[in-house]
């Protein structure tokens, strides 16, 4: 997420030249981060559930269970991924927010 924001430093400079404030940019980035983190987090939870189910089904045939995913754990994983994504995006946005539009455009070109 941080790298994705730094890669678009030129676009941020252009948008600020067109009147975007730091808040506009932060909102845009956080919106994207939320989408990406939610999708990634949900995919991670689904993959973990699938692998856990396969392992329990194929390897342990005597009714034992190795993986136990409680709803609370899955929710925590999802929330953690969203919070981490948002923090990374906010950190990167604030790092480049102090640049003038011209400097952002120069660095990104």
């Amino acid at each position: 997420m941080t790298a994705a924001v730094f890669e678009r430093i030129r676009d941020f400079g252009i948008k600020r030249a067109l009147g975007a404030t730091d808040l506009h940019l932060l909102r845009e980035v956080l919106g994207e981060a939320l989408g990406v983190s939610l999708t990634g987090g949900a995919a991670g939870v689904a993959i973990a559930l699938g692998i856990g189910w396969l392992v329990d089904l194929k390897i342990l045939r005597d009714g034992q269970q190795v993986f136990l995913f409680s709803p609370r754990l899955l929710l925590f994983a999802l929330v953690f991924s969203v919070v981490l994504g948002a923090l990374a995006a906010a950190y990167a946005t604030l790092r480049i927010a102090h640049l003038s539009p011209a400097e952002a455009i120069r660095r990104g070109t």
């Binding site: 600020r16 030249a17 067109l18 009147g19 400097e103 455009i105």
Partner: protein, 224 residues
């Protein structure tokens, strides 16, 4: 809108870490309905001057006034508002956002100043139709020619009807035909809307169209 700049100065850190003087005590006025050309060799400080006038970077010294407001000393948020509502930029390298289509690039100008999207879309389409790029509205910048990109960038610059348009070598990457289109549009803005246009150029043809020409040499601004 009356634009006044007094004593503008800017230095950059050079490759060896030494300060390089880009602009030194520059004064400039532009009245409504005036096209001012700034000419000068590469590295003379022309782009720096436009960046300062456009509030794209802060001067080391000096002041910029739009009418009776000293815009160079406004807060970051207030300067962003001024950039969005009162200044239009046309850059030599177009500076379109690569991930957005032509129409979305044009509409970016309206987004950050809170304009109604439907109204802005109608106006954007009228502008793009006039500039001959309406049929390219859903294409990304990489799919457009240089002339098309510059016309899209021009539409974005004037969508909000800014009283000041800053054009940094707007015809530098264009052939003669497209250069004439852009110069004609800038001239039209000055005549029909009373816009102040400050044009940085090395084209004699463009400078000849100006009401007033200034020369930048080694960071100093003089009458041409």
């Amino acid at each position: 809108m009356l634009v006044r700049a007094r004593g503008l100065a800017k230095r950059y850190r050079g490759a060896a870490g030494h300060p390089v003087r880009a602009l030194e005590a520059a004064d400039l006025d532009a009245t409504p309905g005036e096209l001012v050309a700034v000419v000068g060799a590469s590295g003379s400080g022309k782009s720096t001057l436009l960046n300062l006038l456009g509030l794209l970077e802060p001067p080391d010294a000096g002041e910029i006034w739009f009418d009776d407001v000293r815009v160079s000393h406004l807060s970051r948020r207030a300067q962003a508002r001024v950039r969005g509502t009162r200044i239009g930029y046309v850059f030599q390298s177009f500076l379109l956002v690569s991930g957005l289509t032509a129409i979305d690039n044009v509409l970016l100008a309206a987004r950050y100043v809170g304009r109604d999207r439907a109204t802005a879309l109608r106006e954007a389409m009228v502008l793009m139709e006039r500039l001959g790029v309406a049929d390219r509205r859903d294409h990304y910048p990489a799919e457009l020619s240089g002339g098309e990109q510059q016309r899209v960038a021009y539409c974005r610059a004037v969508l909000n009807g800014p009283p000041l348009v800053l054009a940094d070598e707007p015809t530098g990457s264009l052939d003669d035909v497209h250069a004439r289109v852009i110069l004609g549009e800038l001239r039209g803005l000055v005549r029909e809307r009373g816009t102040s246009v400050i044009l940085v150029t090395h084209r004699a043809e463009a400078a000849a169209e100006a009401d007033r020409a200034l020369r930048l040499e080694a960071g100093r601004l003089e009458h041409a």
